[in-house]
């Protein structure tokens, strides 16, 4: 059993050695092929020779397959100075491009002495060369290349193991190539007699690909650059923000913020309306509804007082006014001529006329701004057709223009600020009546009146010296009373008289109470 175990162990050992040897051979073959490829491009002379260590030398040459012969046809003769010649066995290998590679490897060499090499093919010298082996080193690339970050930004530290060659370590020089991964932007740095280097001036936060190759420095020894090592990737430390960039960024941000605020503030109302639209307020359309009547629309309309009657809104009615003629004669002799058809009085209205007359009297006596309203209120109390909230009644109000000389134009009527009392006190008489009504702004000392009046001056119906008549058209649309002219403002000259038509707006002072009035 022990013998069998020993046999098994031996077999296993041999198997391992064979595997290792095979691995070494394969790796060596790959290395040889790599070096052959390198020298093929950099060495023009034949045979191309290189030393991998201090004791070996490999020389090779290539020939086309057509002219190539077997390896036995070739003789490699080498001669050291002051020594006898020696011969090296030539080996042939297939090469790329249909060529044959012939090579010879010397395992024991002498340095620092000239070496003569001659290659014969079938006795004919094909290659002849003299060289110093110590000047033709082609080393293996460095191993264990390591790249690390340093504590400083923009730096990387690369370290490696030099080729393990005795006597040559202090004669080696290295070339470190570092590029930003994925780009061709990089640099090459030369290092002598050292196995580490700190790469400076790197971009912060960038990933670098570092590789290295080796060559003898050329003083005592020389040779070719080795193959590059496999690249090693390493990123540098991220950089700190440049203070200048930070400050510029802050300044620009501040400027943009101020501009945005300025734009927002200049359009704040528009933006507020878009974001938070204001609830429409109808107060402007119903003046006094909220301020005077506290939002009571009915009261504002005048329902509580038994009818629409005299409401400020009546004066603003947009409906077409219906003509209303109210004839009133104040201390006037009744004209002989018949009144205009509209001016005809119904028999039942005698009391009403008398009442109006008395009103006119009082008007003369009590000139104040409420006179007209008071009179209208009184008229409202008379029996007769009352104003209806629902019916639109046309009515005329004829006011007496007293002491008016027929020859005098009704200049005073142009003064819109003159109160009716003044006008009536002027004693003017109208010259003609006209179908068109004019309006006269009634303004007392306060300048405000809540009526919109139009006046008609009958012409021939009044005695020449009698006071003139003024007519005020009151339109009752059933909702509101509108004192408005029957026509647009104009001035007509009719014979001796002048009819002035004016429009004026009603304004109800806030402190005044609604005046119930009806025609």
């Amino acid at each position: 059993e022990k013998k069998m175990t020993n046999d098994h162990l031996k077999k296993l050992l041999v198997y391992c050695m064979l595997c290792c040897t095979q691995k070494i051979i394969v790796q060596g073959a790959q290395t040889f092929q790599t070096k052959v490829a390198l020298l093929r491009h950099v060495e023009p002379n034949n045979p191309k020779c290189f030393a991998e260590g201090i004791r070996d030398l490999t020389c090779f040459w290539e020939e086309d397959e057509e002219r190539a012969g077997s390896a036995k046809q070739y003789s490699f003769i080498y001669t050291y100075q002051n020594e006898n010649s020696s011969e090296c066995n030539v080996t042939a290998l297939p090469a790329a491009g249909g060529r044959i590679l012939y090579f010879c490897r010397l395992s024991q060499t002498q340095l620092f002495v000239p070496l003569d090499i001659q290659v014969f093919r079938d006795g004919l010298l094909i290659h002849n060369r003299r060289l110093h082996i110590e000047l033709f080193f082609l080393l293996d690339p460095p191993v264990n290349l390591t790249v690390k970050r340093t504590e400083k930004q923009g730096q990387l530290k690369a370290s490696w193991m030099p080729p393990p060659l005795k006597y040559l370590d202090d004669s080696m020089m290295y070339e470190v190539s570092y590029v930003i991964a994925g780009t061709q932007m990089g640099q090459v740095e030369e290092v002598r007699a050292s196995s580490e280097v700190i790469l400076l001036g790197l971009q912060p936060g960038a990933k670098y690909s570092v590789r290295i190759r080796v060559k003898l420095d050329g003083v005592s020894y020389n040779g070719y650059w080795s193959a590059w090592t496999d690249p090693v990737l390493m990123a540098t430390l991220p950089g700190d923000l440049d203070p200048l960039i930070v400050s510029l960024t802050l300044i620009i941000s501040l400027i943009l913020t101020l501009l945005s605020l300025t734009v927002l503030l200049s359009h704040r109302r528009f933006l507020l309306n878009k974001i938070w639209p204001v609830i429409p307020n109808p107060e402007s359309k119903f003046q006094g509804l909220f301020t005077v009547y506290g939002g009571d629309f009915e009261e504002w309309l005048g329902y509580s007082a038994g009818g629409l009657c005299l409401r400020p809104a009546y004066f603003y009615s947009e409906e077409l006014p219906a003509p209303l003629e109210v004839l009133s004669e104040v201390s006037l002799d009744l004209p002989s001529s018949p009144l205009p058809p509209k001016a005809k009085q119904a028999p039942g209205e005698d009391e009403k006329l008398k009442r109006i007359d008395s009103l006119m009297e009082r008007w003369r006596e009590t000139p104040h701004e409420h006179w007209l309203m008071d009179q209208l209120r009184v008229l409202h109390q008379l029996p007769g057709p009352q104003c209806s909230q629902l019916e639109s009644q046309d009515a005329y109000v004829t006011l007496n223009a007293q002491n008016h000389s027929g020859e005098e134009p009704l200049d005073d009527i142009l003064e819109e600020t003159l109160p009716l009392q003044a006008l009536f006190a002027s004693g003017r008489t109208c010259s003609e009546s006209h179908s068109d009504l004019g309006s006269l702004q009634q303004s007392s000392g306060s300048g405000r009146l809540s009526t919109q009046s139009s006046f008609e001056y009958p012409n021939h119906t009044w005695p020449p010296k009698g006071p003139g008549y003024t007519y005020m058209a009151v339109a009752d649309s059933g909702v509101s009373m509108d004192y408005s002219p029957m026509s647009s403002s104009r001035i007509d000259y009719m014979g001796k008289g002048v009819i002035y038509t004016n429009e004026y707006r009603n304004e109800i002072p806030a402190h005044r109470q609604p005046i119930p009035f009806a025609f």
């Binding site: 620092f112 110590e134 006597y167 202090d170 003083v219």
Partner: protein, 188 residues
Amino acid sequence: MSLTAPRYSGLLVVLLMVLQWAGQGIPSPVRPICDLRVLDHFIMEARDTETALRGCKAGCGVTGTFVVPLTNVDFLVWETKDIWEQAVEVQSGLSLLGQALGAVGESLSNAVMQSLITNNKSNIRSLGQVLHSLHIKGVSIHAAPAGGGTATRKVSSLSELLSVHINFLRGKVRLLLKNAPVCQQSSP
């Protein structure tokens, strides 16, 4: 290397001479010179001399036969020698080269070449001092007998002489200085 060869080598020689004069016969604790940059500098100057010789016709008129040391280094053989053998071989070879360069300098007609040859001869003497500083037993400051202890050969041209000079410095001298025991102890 930013050293100026003539100034540096001259300074070194003066230093060693002063020390030798001041302490003749008295063992002076000379600090070993292990920096190979000095040798590299000497090698570069020898190369400059060989380059300058190419511009000189007919070998600058130098005739004669010169005995020079062998320069070939077989590491398998070299490593079998101990440090003393190596040092004696190097010291003997330097002596032969010094004698040969001295004989060449006398027959040179070219002033530039003469100056370069003189410089090289001076460098060889400096290397003797450096070798002495290594405190190798059996190696004294006095020049070893020429050819004693080392294989030699003869050359008949200045170019061959300078080639031997360069190869000897790059080879055996450097190997000895690099592997001197005292330098191995001082290096990390």
